[in-house]
Amino acid sequence: MTTVPRLAVRHLTKRFGALAANDDISLTVEAGELHCLLGENGAGKSTFSACLYGLLQPDHGEIEIDGRKVELTSPAKAIACGIGMVHQHFVLVPSFTVLENIVVGTGSGLALDMGTARRKILDLSRGFGLELTPDRLVSDLSVGEKQWVEIVKALYLGARLLILDEPTAVLTPLESERLFAVISELKAAGIAVILISHKMNEVMRSDRVSVLRKGKLIGTVRTKDVTRDDLTMMMVGRPIAQVHARAKTSHGKAALQVVGLRLKRGADISLGIAAGEILGLAGVAGNDQDELLETIAGLARPERGRILLDGEDLTSLSVQDIARRGVGYVPSDRFRDGLVSDFTIAENLILGQHWDEHWRSGPFLDDAATAKNAEAAISSYSIMASGPEMLCGRLSGGNAQKVILAREFAKARHLLLCNQPTRGVDIGVIEFVHREILRKREEGCAILLVSEELEDIFALSDRIAVMFRGEIMGIFPREVADIAVIGPLMAGHRPEAAA
């Protein structure tokens, strides 16, 4: 190309000790281009964007903006060079208004010219099709709107290159669509956008894709020249076998029965799962799926209703007693609810069972037994770790998830509650998790699977239920459930009973 690229990166290398998180990466991003950065967790996407935003300093290499060499020693410098970044976890002050959040830290001297700022923000948001009300409190905004605030903030600061870090991870399908509409407005205005993502359907909407693997740039390709499979191959380095369950038609008797269960809001929930059956629970995050699973696991008490496992009422039992009856629970937030980061793999695998005779010799914990248990889990779940003594806080997201799966799958003899088992993990791990869940089904375990990834739900479920605001909107056999049926229910629209 003859024009000067908006961003040119040459031979960028960043090491952490022996690990080269970014190894000799060179790429360019044109003005008005949507450039996707694709790679598994730990491939170096975050390090690369942190270098671009001045959060980290590369050990070698050069960065040029519009043909001018820049030294990005701090985010302030990066902003001054016209680089903006929207983090995956928003950095907004909830008790401030939209206007205040955008102008905070921008004033020179003591006075802030709020009037001018307000006009500029309104112009920016109208220009790009974002509907922002400057005086609303950020705490009152939806997740999608908060993201808009972040984008407008970056634009307000004069961004000509916008980095979006996994922007759709927190959005509903509809909100994601609107985001892409905004991105095309940005492109039209000549702003370069770098999209960090691992969702293939989003990646395919970009102009070009740069694929990273283990810190190295595998290649930059024009999106229209490649297929999804090509990109997956580049990203993982091997072909991925898609696991697909064939829905079973005949089942044993119901293992789990939920009868007239009422959560904090919504209507009474009734559902049953047979032994050896997977019930997929579809729904946008925050529609009380977590509450339902926590209630079944005994962490929360229902307003009313009963939960039966093989005919026995679990409703008033403790978490520990429920677990002893063969119930495993994989929580959605693995580092908050699932693991103790400062504990070793061996310790995390016995979390909650640490009083059991099995793991004790006399009054002390039996380190030999727990280490043996951990070694077995590490090999059968192929956890990438230095050994049983490795701290879980040092594991990658996918490996941390495998530790939880190892613990909970061992507990789940009759019922497995699985909440977002593939959130934020690599394609390779997703494939692994799918296979393990299906193996658990073959063992005759009843499985309740909650996922925001509809791909999980469709790939694994025998039946699919849709949840909206604490209520089950409908339960369908896998064969008749497709996105046309489920989509409207996820948004709370019931089909008209009769036409």
Binding site: G17, L299, I322, R336, L339, H354
Partner: protein
């Protein structure tokens, strides 16, 4: 632009601090602390080297001085352990001070009913009373936290005040005041209830051995037992433990009971090992100093023992230093604080590194 950037340097967090880096950072922090202390000595007109010499001589110069250092260290080992156990579980028990009082008072209350009986009855009662008194007083803060969501920092500090004035009330005109006595203190306790002296012509008493045993038990408890597993888990992620079916309130109560019981032993060992009377002067400040000791000892039981002996040496040597060089012994509290601040700064600094940025 920050000052470091102006100098062409940049402060960066380290991914992982190596042991050597830590040791270097802490050693230089200690050196810096010593230099500052030296300046302090110079400011009061004393040669820092001779002051330091006198301090060391006073702390370890003779057999008697060395045992006296251990006497001073004993209550600090207990309160240091008490704080370490709670802090390991991320329970900010600032109430060791009050729990020392509670332990001493409950031990005294139990023992005074048995005065005149055999030491084999009185000594276990004294120790048991201290454990129960300190434990229950800390348990009060635990219940306030789990039942009423009162932050333990607030409740333990407030409980410190209450117990100090309660003791004052009992001693001033109350049932515990010494008959015909002028000072705010009880009468001397029954010799049969006093902790035996370990070596002739020293004041080193059984309490020191009990403190070492306590350190060993705490180490075993935290490292090896299911209960310690819960303490360590609570220190990192109590929520994950709760999701796995452990009762959070039970863990908090348990940690506070253990912590308070250990602090209670400090009160017992001062009253029955050193002063033989219950009085505020025998009990005050050990709880607060114990927090410093616990942090210097890295919340590790053996680290606590070492830090407590260091502080014992400072306090013990200070008296001799004052006699010999005229440095006010109160200066020792400034030195304690300087050591802690530099230690913390050194620890924090070891998590960063300076990098040259290209000009």
């Amino acid at each position: 632009m920050t000052l470091t950037e102006r100098l062409g340097l940049r402060l960066e967090p380290r991914a992982e601090a190596k042991t050597l880096d830590r040791v270097l950072a802490l050693a230089s922090a200690l050196l810096a602390a010593l230099i500052l202390c030296g300046l302090l000595f110079t400011a009061v007109g004393v040669n820092p080297l001779s002051a330091l010499g006198a301090l060391l001589q006073g702390a370890f110069g003779t057999w008697r001085a060395a045992t006296e250092t251990l006497v001073k260290a004993t209550p600090l080992i207990f309160t240091g352990l008490a704080t370490a156990v709670a802090f390991r579980a991320r329970l900010w028990n600032i109430g060791a001070e009050g729990q020392v009082f509670a332990g001493a008072m409950f031990a005294y209350w139990c023992q005074s009913a048995l005065a005149g009986t055999s030491p084999f009855l009185q000594l276990p009662v004294v120790m048991g009373g201290a454990l129960v008194g300190g434990g229950l007083y800390a348990g009060l803060a635990a219940i306030l936290k789990t039942r009423f969501r009162v932050d333990e920092v607030i409740s333990t500090v407030m409980l410190n005040y209450i117990i100090v004035y309660a003791l004052s009330l009992l001693l001033l005109k109350g049932p515990w005041s010494e008959a015909g006595g002028f000072f705010e203190q009880t009468a001397k306790v029954d010799p049969a209830s006093q902790l035996p002296i370990l070596f002739d012509k020293t004041r080193l008493h059984l309490g020191f051995l009990v403190a070492l045993v306590a350190a060993a038990l705490v180490w075993l408890l935290v490292r090896r037992t299911p209960m310690g597993f819960e303490i360590r888990a609570a220190g990192s992620n109590l929520r994950a433990l709760e999701v796995q079916g452990t009762n959070k309130a039970r863990v908090i109560l348990m940690v506070m009971l253990i912590s308070g019981a250990l602090a209670g032993l400090a009160g017992m060992s001062e009253v029955y090992g050193v002063h033989y009377r219950v009085k505020a002067g025998a009990l005050a400040t050990y709880g607060y100093t114990g927090i410093i000791v616990a942090i210097l000892g890295q919340l590790n039981p053996w680290g606590v023992v070492i830090a407590a002996i260091l502080f014992g040496a400072l306090v013990n040597g200070a008296t001799f230093m004052q006699i010999k060089t005229g440095v006010p012994s109160a200066l020792i509290y400034a030195i304690e604080a300087i050591i802690l601040l530099f230690y913390l700064a050194g620890w924090a600094a070891s998590s960063f590194r300076l990098r040259r940025i290209r000009a």
